[in-house]
Amino acid sequence: MECLAVNHPMPDTQDSWRRFFFSLGDFIFFMAIGIATTLVTHGTHQLGWSVWIACPVGMVVAMALQMLMAVCVSPLLGSIEAMTPSMVLGMLAPMPVCVLHIMGRESTHSAAVVWGIAAGMLMFAFVLWYSTICNRRLHRAIGSDQHGVTDMGPARSSL
């Protein structure tokens, strides 16, 4: 049994600040993605097209916008760190706008913004939660005789 937990030195102040600023960056970015993708989808639903055209077109445009925004922030927040959660967000955040339209009701401009902010905050909370889950998996793996790999997931997360 050679799987070891990593005894990282306690993070220094600079490290804590760095982590704080990246978390803040993620938070703002997720909210921006949420707002942008719901708004653009809302916009396509205002064009008077059939719901079955507006929905896929809105989703495609929202995804394209999400990718563009993710590429722009990649040098700062990291390419995978920006692209992966924002892609999930870009797919899910506009869905209520489509669902409302299918149900024969229209979302308002401000409702789309509020939902976008909420979706961004939910994604940020999800990333925090999943980060904790990843930590727990590592701790569970320590003591197993499979080098912690089979059910390991990763160890300590930096977010």
Binding site: E2, C3, L4, A5, V6, D15, R18, F22, S74, P75, L76, L77, G78, S79, I80, E81, M83, T84, P85, M87, V88, M91, V127, Y130, S131, C134, N135, R137, L138, H147, G148, V149, M152, G153, P154, A155, R156, S157, S158, L159
Partner: protein, 199 residues
């Protein structure tokens, strides 16, 4: 074919590697464990050289001549012995057990056959030697995993697979995992593995 793809990507490689701001300290921490004669696989344009600890004896390889050409200025600034060689990770010209440490950095997403490449790295690593890997893998979370699968549909064209199970591949090649650290969730990992002494 692969070398041509990477020759083309060399032009924008540093832009893609801009993530160094967030990941740099994790790379530096991983590279601190470089010991003895080191093989650094897929050194690219040398963006990682700034994170190398000084005074090491390192052989950096890459399949792309253009990448190596761009890495040259960074190599010159390194405070240690760093040699750059054009080579394919899946077919190395080095003799068995000729390195004490092997290092990869976002490499296993890009080699056509990761298990074969890892077996080749296993061959050139001495028994008891360590492989240090900074790699991104498929998330075990359904949503994030699907997003990475989706991304792979187009990143594959540029030679990068976002959804590989590198931890399992490392084991399949014969290495023993020593520890894994998370750099970002279960997607970007810092992996320490060893070639067993009695290999």
């Amino acid at each position: 074919m692969a070398s041509r793809i990477w020759d083309r990507r060399a032009r924008v490689y540093d832009l893609c590697e801009g993530s160094s701001l967030r990941r740099g300290r994790f790379k530096a921490s991983l590279f601190r464990d470089m010991k003895g004669r080191v093989l650094f696989v897929a050194i690219g344009t040398g963006a990682d050289i700034r994170h190398f600890p000084p005074g090491r004896e390192i052989v950096g390889i890459d399949i792309s001549q253009e990448m190596l050409r761009r890495a040259e200025s960074r190599r010159a600034k390194y405070d240690g012995d760093l040699e750059l060689i054009e080579a394919d990770a899946m077919k190395l010209a080095f003799t068995d057990a000729s390195f004490d440490t092997v290092v990869t950095s976002c490499t296993m997403c890009s080699v056509p056959d990761p298990v074969r490449a890892l077996q080749e790295l296993y061959r050139v690593l001495r028994p008891g030697g360590e492989i240090l890997m900074f790699e991104h893998v498929r998330s075990r979370n359904v949503l994030l995993g699907l997003a990475l699968d989706f991304m792979t549909l187009w990143t594959r064209r540029g030679g990068t697979e976002m959804n590989r199970d590198t931890v399992t591949n490392v084991q399949l090649a014969g290495f023993r995992i020593v520890r894994i650290e998370s750099v970002y969730l279960d997607i970007i990992l810092s992996i320490h593995a060893k070639k067993p002494m009695l290999a």
